[in-house]
């Protein structure tokens, strides 16, 4: 019986993968199961798995991106079946939003999306996940094998153990041509939200695209990345890949500036991992203040102008 964690990291195991391995190790200890890691990104990530508690590691070769998610899905279904995996853990992101439910169905089990916690009761994993756009949490039991996506920042990363494990190389089953990648639009410029220590995020209060240009500069001066609420994305002021929230990116920075963001639950569900939220809003009753460590009741554009002024002078 195994817990299988899967990563798309290439050369090294990134923070999200180490969190998966941390969760896998604790769950494995509670269920009496070993941990295996499958890398769809490259051998480097698989080679590091032994150092974080995995007893088996696999690298699955192939041009996975060429078939959308078909190749990765077929390979993971095959491997999870062979290992008789009781649980498959995936990082919660855009890719696994599709992969997890489809994989669970192929394995005859069930998926749990965006899990934020795992408890074992009577030998059975009970998963915690946000519901109602993050306004509530649900504890769920799911038919096994369970394919769960884990929210970034919700689980403690695995400690380095100094161990090693041999890496088995596998080849993904041939894709049947149902989905073919025609092209990729270059990722938009700007720092990666998931890894940023400082995030400067704007909402409806920013008012227009020019306001976001100012946020770009503020983020640059603070060494951070620009994020946005769904309202700002829907208004077309900022590209969709900047959206933070339940249906956007889930972030865990040291400081999250929420500028002109009222704090809808959908948005708050994406910032649960932030060490400190700084809320700036004209409405002192905005729900964002309930989640904030520091607050400023002020027009966010005036605040941004003052911050820019202050930071430019400090350079």
């Amino acid at each position: 019986m195994m817990i299988l964690a899967a990563t798309w990291d290439a050369e090294r195991l990134g923070p999200a993968s180490r969190e998966l391995l941390g969760a896998a190790a604790r769950l494995g200890a509670a269920l009496g199961a070993d941990v295996a890691l499958a890398s769809l990104g490259g051998a480097g990530a698989a080679e590091e798995a032994g150092g974080y508690g995995a007893t088996q590691a696999f690298v699955i070769e192939g041009d996975h991106a060429a078939s959308g998610n078909e190749s990765a899905l077929a390979a993971l279904a095959e491997l999870a079946g062979e290992l008789e995996a009781r649980v498959v853990l995936l990082p919660a992101d855009e890719r696994t939003a599709e992969v997890a439910p489809r994989l669970a169905e192929r394995l005859g089990g069930a998926a749990v999306m965006h899990a934020t916690g795992i408890d074992v009761t009577d030998g059975r994993p009970i998963w915690t996940k946000p519901v109602f756009g993050g306004k509530a949490l649900a504890a769920v039991a799911a038919s096994e094998p369970v394919v769960a996506t884990l929210r970034r920042g919700a689980f403690e990363a695995a400690e380095a153990t100094g161990g090693t494990t041999a890496v088995s190389t596998r080849t993904a089953p041939a894709a049947d041509g149902a989905v073919e990648l025609v092209g990729t639009d270059a990722p938009a410029a700007g720092n990666k939200l998931e890894d940023a220590k400082v995030i400067v995020a704007g909402g409806a209060g920013i008012g227009n695209g020019d306001g976001f240009a100012e946020l770009d500069e503020l983020a640059r001066l603070l060494g951070g990345a620009v994020g946005a609420s769904l309202a700002a994305v829907d208004a077309g002021w900022v590209p969709p890949d900047r959206q933070v929230g339940l249906t956007g990116k889930v972030v865990s920075p040291d400081v999250y500036f929420a500028l002109g963001i009222s704090g809808a639950s959908q948005h708050l569900a994406g910032i649960g991992g932030a060490k400190a939220v700084v809320a700036v809003n004209t409405d002192p009753d905005a729900p964002i203040f309930a989640r904030a460590r520091l607050g400023v009741v002020m027009d966010c554009r005036a605040f941004v102008a003052a911050m820019l002024d202050r930071l430019r002078n400090a350079q």
Partner: protein
């Protein structure tokens, strides 16, 4: 295929108003659901995006017949009226009791049975996740069980050489994919997918259009079959406590506030910037 569009089905869901403020949101610990009447119910946001994408495909001639399909209690008919008001051709309601909280697998079973009964459907559009239970699975389960192609988080689609060419949000970058039919697309939010308003005439006409109603029984699904399809059980649902510990930063002007805030962030060791 010139001049011959497809029959597309858009999957809808009527959910509790997702903008209900957290301060008013409650869960009944016994039913593990928000109490009935806590707020209005509406057509969910991603389902609105899916409906809009379906309409855009029809505008482009890719789709020539559009069926709106919903599984849910009586108030779900509102979602179908909304779809008819933007000129969906047909509306189908698989009615289930309000007390039955179906899991994604059970919902998929009912949808599958209905889609199989709809004549010649080749394309299904679903929201990426329903804004109540946020499982984000139904569209994919329908695809896997029908043996159709599935692609997630789509925000644009067009026809190309007998396939559907989609643009979707990938991990790290947007992707353009050629997708074999029949297919299920789950649709994500995008500025281009805000649901249009129906004209006054269309909205009035929508109230007079027929809604096809099928019971699970009529679809060949007995209660025990539906019960056996369950794969996810909610053991507890609760509203987390939020500690309010916000320290307000004030000052005589914006410049003073900015200076004080930066100083405070440094004291808290959250930011290391030149003071």
């Amino acid at each position: 295929m010139l001049g011959l569009g497809m029959h597309a089905v858009v999957l809808l869901k009527q959910i509790l108003d997702w903008e209900l403020p957290p301060s008013r949101f409650r869960i009944d610990s016994e039913t593990r659901r928000p109490p009935d009447g806590l707020g209005p119910t509406l057509l969910g946001p991603f389902e609105q995006n899916a409906l809009e994408l379906a309409l855009q495909l029809r505008d482009a001639g890719v789709v020539d017949r559009l069926t709106a399909l919903v599984v849910g209690p009586a108030d779900s008919a509102d979602s179908l009226r909304k779809a008819l008001a933007v000129r969906a051709d047909e509306a189908v309601h698989v009615e289930v009791g309000s007390a039955e909280a179906l899991d994604p697998s059970q919902t998929a079973e009912l949808l599958l049975a209905a889609i199989r009964r709809l004549d010649g459907a080749e394309l299904v559009l679903a929201g990426r996740q329903a804004g109540d239970w946020d499982h984000g699975q139904v569209g994919y389960l329908v695809a896997e069980r029908l043996g159709w192609t599935a692609v997630g988080l789509v925000w644009h689609a067009e026809r190309s050489d007998g396939r559907i060419l989609v643009q979707r949000t990938g991990s790290g970058a947007d992707e353009r994919l050629a997708v074999r039919l029949p297919a299920v697309l789950t649709v994500t939010s995008h500025p281009s997918l805000q649901l249009r308003m129906g004209s006054v005439m269309d909205r009035m006409a929508a109230n007079k259009k027929p809604i096809t109603r099928w019971t699970p029984d009529e679809l060949g699904l007995a209660p025990e079959q539906i019960a056996a399809a369950r794969r996810i059980e909610l053991t507890k649902v609760w509203v987390p406590e939020v500690e309010r510990a916000c320290e307000l930063i004030e000052g005589e002007d914006a410049a003073a506030v900015a200076t004080r805030l930066l100083g405070r962030l440094e004291e808290l060791k959250l930011l290391t910037r030149p003071a």
